[in-house]
């Protein structure tokens, strides 16, 4: 098959009509893809593609630290904090794509805009920041409502927009003097300072970006001149484009079979993004019978087939799309405890726990939702169905689109008994993962599909937030990790390790140099990449 595909690929070159043999000029184009849609408005960005876009079109005060937890300076040169307020010094001479200088006022404007529009990552800041002010053009100060340790990390989600450009393009809207805060315009234009600027935007098909030559940090020698970030390509399309050399980096969601056959082709390599911040959780609805009984939940965690799951995710001897977990915290976050044992399937223990459960499995049906957008998860859902049925539960698997899951899970009555959801720490801090998942104070969202209400967990979560000493925080999160392991609000199925398929000709330093790798999703920095033909 492989041989034939290659022979055919060369046949294609021959068969390709003459008019298509357009001589390629010296422009270096980077072609990659992600699932739709691509959102380029910083106040709305949330998803995987959005994060990549933000990292390249905009800049933030700080960036996730390379090679370990925490943050490093980007627009900010230094900062001070007294626990309740943070003051940042900005780098001088940074220019927006418009040519306007980037100042403290722009930072303040960006924060206000995000909070006012109330979308995207606004929840990271809304209600926590009392005020933001420009002390001088290069100094900005944030005052918090209460001490909040994860604030610094949260700033990786605050791209700075060009206030003048946004206001010049505002339309009528509900934000008073700010009109619509440039919402309409910003959905197809950028107002950033990043290394690349938007040339064209179609949220359903692609964003085209070109180099911003005046970028303050410079570029790798062979950095791409142009980037085409495409959305919604089907797996076989990506596979064909890759093997024809018409695509440079594939998205993370290809089935293992496809990655395997691509890896075997010439000129193609695999890169793993192991930022250790994404957990694949089978979220169990702890507010609905029979899973409101911890023993029933524990029975399921023992019945889950971890081995086969990892086998399904394996690509070859050295790479897999997942590694085992030891608790709810993935390996790259503060509080990860490498001394805890791996999870293993144990049907005897499962039956033991089931015997202690107050429900009779035969009369307790279990609904498993499978998120339609991620085909690979079907196998895991079906695997669960097979295993849980062995315990005697009547099990139903429902393929559900993400939009619907994210709505269903907000209510305990409608949330499925089990749903596999990947949750990534959106900032390099364990709080951004666990607080949203398990605090009973947070209004229910897809991240908290477990609907856990536990006093001890709440207490530890609050402690982790307010404590500023890193050593003490680590102890708190280790204990939290252990507690959650015993409460089993979710089956901690595996830690997601994304496998990128890339052309040999493309170098991605953040993925290929362990010391440069950072938080999942923040590694595709175009200006650092190089394309050598």
């Amino acid at each position: 098959m492989r041989l034939r595909a290659r022979a055919l690929a060369s046949a294609f070159v021959l068969a390709s009509p003459l008019w298509l043999a357009v001589p390629s000029f010296a422009e270096r184009v980077l072609r990659l893809d992600e699932s739709p849609i691509g959102e380029i408005d910083p106040a709305k960005a949330t998803d995987y593609a959005d994060t990549v876009l933000m990292s390249n079109i905009y800049d933030t005060l700080v960036y996730p630290k390379a090679g370990g937890p925490g943050v490093e300076p980007l627009l900010a040169t230094e900062w001070t904090t007294d626990g309740n307020s943070y003051t940042f010094k900005l780098k001088d001479g940074v220019k927006f794509h418009s040519g306007n200088p980037l100042t403290a006022d722009d930072v303040v404007f960006s924060l206000n805009r995000m909070i006012a529009m109330g979308q995207g990552f606004s929840s990271l800041f809304a209600g926590r920041v009392e005020k933001a002010e420009a002390i001088d053009p290069l100094t900005v100060k944030f005052t918090l409502t209460e001490p909040y340790a994860p604030f610094l990390a949260a700033l990786v989600r605050l791209p700075v927009v060009d206030a003048k450009t946004v206001m010049a393009n505002k339309a009528d809207g509900k934000h008073g003097e700010f009109g619509d805060y440039g919402e309409a315009w910003m959905s197809s234009h950028d107002a950033g300072s990043g290394a690349y600027k938007v040339e064209s935007q179609n949220p359903q098909s692609e964003t085209v970006m070109v180099k911003f030559p005046d970028y303050f940090l410079g570029f790798a020698e062979n950095a791409p001149d142009k980037v085409r970030y495409r959305y919604g390509l089907e797996a076989p399309t990506v596979r064909a484009l890759m093997s024809r050399g018409e695509h440079d980096i594939a998205d993370l969601w290809l089935p293992p079979e496809v990655i395997r056959s691509l890896a075997a082709e010439k000129g193609i390599k695999l890169d793993t993004e192991a930022g250790g911040s994404t957990g694949e959780y089978i979220k169990l609805n702890t507010a609905r019978a029979p899973l409101d009984d911890v023993h029933c939940r524990l029975a399921l965690t023992y019945a889950f087939d971890y081995g086969t799951t990892l086998k399904i995710l394996t690509i070859n001897g050295e790479r897999a799309q997942g590694i085992p977990m030891k608790g709810p915290l993935p390996s790259g976050l503060l509080g990860y405890d490498k001394d805890l044992p791996d999870y293993k399937q144990d049907m005897d223990k499962a039956k033991e726990e089931l015997a202690k459960c107050k429900y009779d499995p035969k009369t307790s049906p279990i609904d498993i939702a499978w998120i339609a957008e991620v085909p690979a998860r079907e196998r895991i859902a079906l695997l669960m169905q097979a295993q849980f049925s062995k315990l005697g539960f009547p099990v139903k698997v429902i393929k559900t689109p993400w939009a619907l899951v994210s709505e269903q899970v907000t209510k305990p009555e409608t949330a499925p008994h089990a749903v596999e959801i990947a949750v990534a720490a959106v900032t390099p801090d364990p709080d951004s993962l666990l607080y949203n998942m398990y605090s009973s104070k947070v209004p229910p969202t897809w991240m908290s599909a477990e609907h856990l209400k536990d006093a001890k967990v709440d207490e530890l979560l609050e402690a982790g937030r307010t404590e500023t000493d890193q050593g003490k925080r680590e102890t708190i999160y280790k204990e939290l990790n252990k507690t959650l392991r015993d409460l089993a609000p979710a089956i901690n199925a595996y830690e997601f390790t994304g496998v990128y398929v890339a052309r040999d000709a493309v170098a991605i330093p953040k993925l290929e140099d362990k010391s440069k790798q950072t938080l999942d999703n923040f590694n595709l920095v175009f200006r650092e990449m190089s394309i050598t033909e």
Binding site: L20, V29, T237, W402, E407, P443, W446, M447
Partner: protein, 340 residues
């Protein structure tokens, strides 16, 4: 067809459009789930959700909501898509041309291949070319568009890769400046012949996959109508007067046979608008249909209502156009209208 009858048809179409808007609106509003919650995304607070519910009149009774919807519609406002975070009209304006372009090219393929197959079948009635033509037409009709898509892709995109399998242009082809949104036209306006050919080249597989079912139907209808016409006295007269068989087949028997076929072709074109949903998915075509699938899966209410309304409108307009065309082709109707 004169202005009065066109006016009447438009009136009837309007009644149907209102019916459709009510139908789709009702379906959209009785579905389970809170559109405001879905709209705001998972991180929104309860207050934000309530505010949006009020803003969009989601708590008002259905007729009031419908009235608000009509009011907005009259301003050309179809609401906001949750999928793209943009006004639905912006999305439709951006995605509709690609779908229409695909459907129109498919319709051309359907006619250019379907008619000759039907004509040949009828001409060689009961002989080998006829059997072959009928079989091809039947298989074309019996196979869903997505199966054609998958099979064409497999054979002409992978096993014998002579055609592109996705998208509208090669990545190396510069996208022409937006004039009409129809790539075939925009590339020509930009004076870029290579890009035009590239766009055409990318249309081959999806347009063929989409055309297949209509093509089969077209061939079958043409054949049976032609056979009926072949039994008419005027065809015998034409043969008795030494008209060339080819000229009879392509002109004298064809035109009367084409009139009833044309009516059905209008329906087939409309069916294409539906089947485009399948084909655009297979070929990653950035059109309205793919948008439609995405918004339906995401329960993006405003976008669903907008998409369905636009497609229904296109369907109705198409049918009226076909009626007008039938009038033009059929002298009886044309002359009768001229007199009335």
């Amino acid at each position: 067809m004169n202005w009065t009858s066109i006016g009447k048809r438009l009136g009837a179409a309007l009644v149907v459009m209102i019916g459709i808007s009510m139908l789709i609106f009702a379906i959209a509003r009785v579905m389970p789930g809170d559109p405001a919650r879905i709209a705001l995304g998972p991180n929104a607070t309860a207050e934000q959700v309530a505010a949006l519910r009020a803003e969009r009149h989601l708590d008002a009774p259905l007729p009031v909501q419908y009235f608000e919807f009509l009011k907005a519609l009259s301003r050309g406002d179809l609401g906001k898509s949750l999928y793209t975070n943009r006004p639905v009209t912006t999305d439709i304006a951006q995605f509709l041309p690609a779908t229409l372009e695909l459907c129109i090219v498919s319709a051309i393929v359907m006619v250019l291949l379907g008619l000759p197959i039907g004509i040949l079948s009828a001409h060689f009635r009961g002989r080998m070319p006829d059997h072959l033509g009928r079989l091809v037409a039947l298989i074309a009709v019996c196979t869903p568009a997505f199966v054609w898509g998958v099979i064409l892709q497999l054979f002409f995109g992978y096993f014998w890769p002579i055609f592109p399998i996705e998208g509208q242009l090669m990545q190396s082809t510069p996208v022409p400046p937006h004039v009409t949104g129809f790539l075939l036209i925009d590339t020509l306006v930009a004076g870029n012949g290579a890009a035009f050919l590239d766009a055409l080249y990318h249309l081959v597989l999806p347009a063929t996959a989409l055309a297949m079912s209509g093509l089969g139907q077209c061939a079958r209808l043409t054949r049976s109508n032609m056979i009926e016409v072949y039994d008419k006295p005027y065809v015998e007269m034409e043969r008795a007067y030494g008209f060339r068989p080819f000229r009879i087949a392509t002109r004298y028997a064809f035109r009367p046979a084409f009139i009833p076929t044309l009516t059905i072709l209008g329906l087939e074109f409309a069916a294409m608008l539906g089947n485009a949903f399948l084909v655009e998915k297979v070929f990653g075509w950035p059109g309205l249909s793919r948008y439609g699938v995405e918004v339906i899966i995401r329960k993006d209410l405003d976008a669903i209502v907008g998409t369905v309304l636009i497609i229904a409108a296109a369907f109705l307009i198409m049918n009226i156009l076909v009626d007008i065309l039938v009038g033009v082709v059929n002298p009886r109707i044309r002359l009768a209208a001229g007199r009335g």
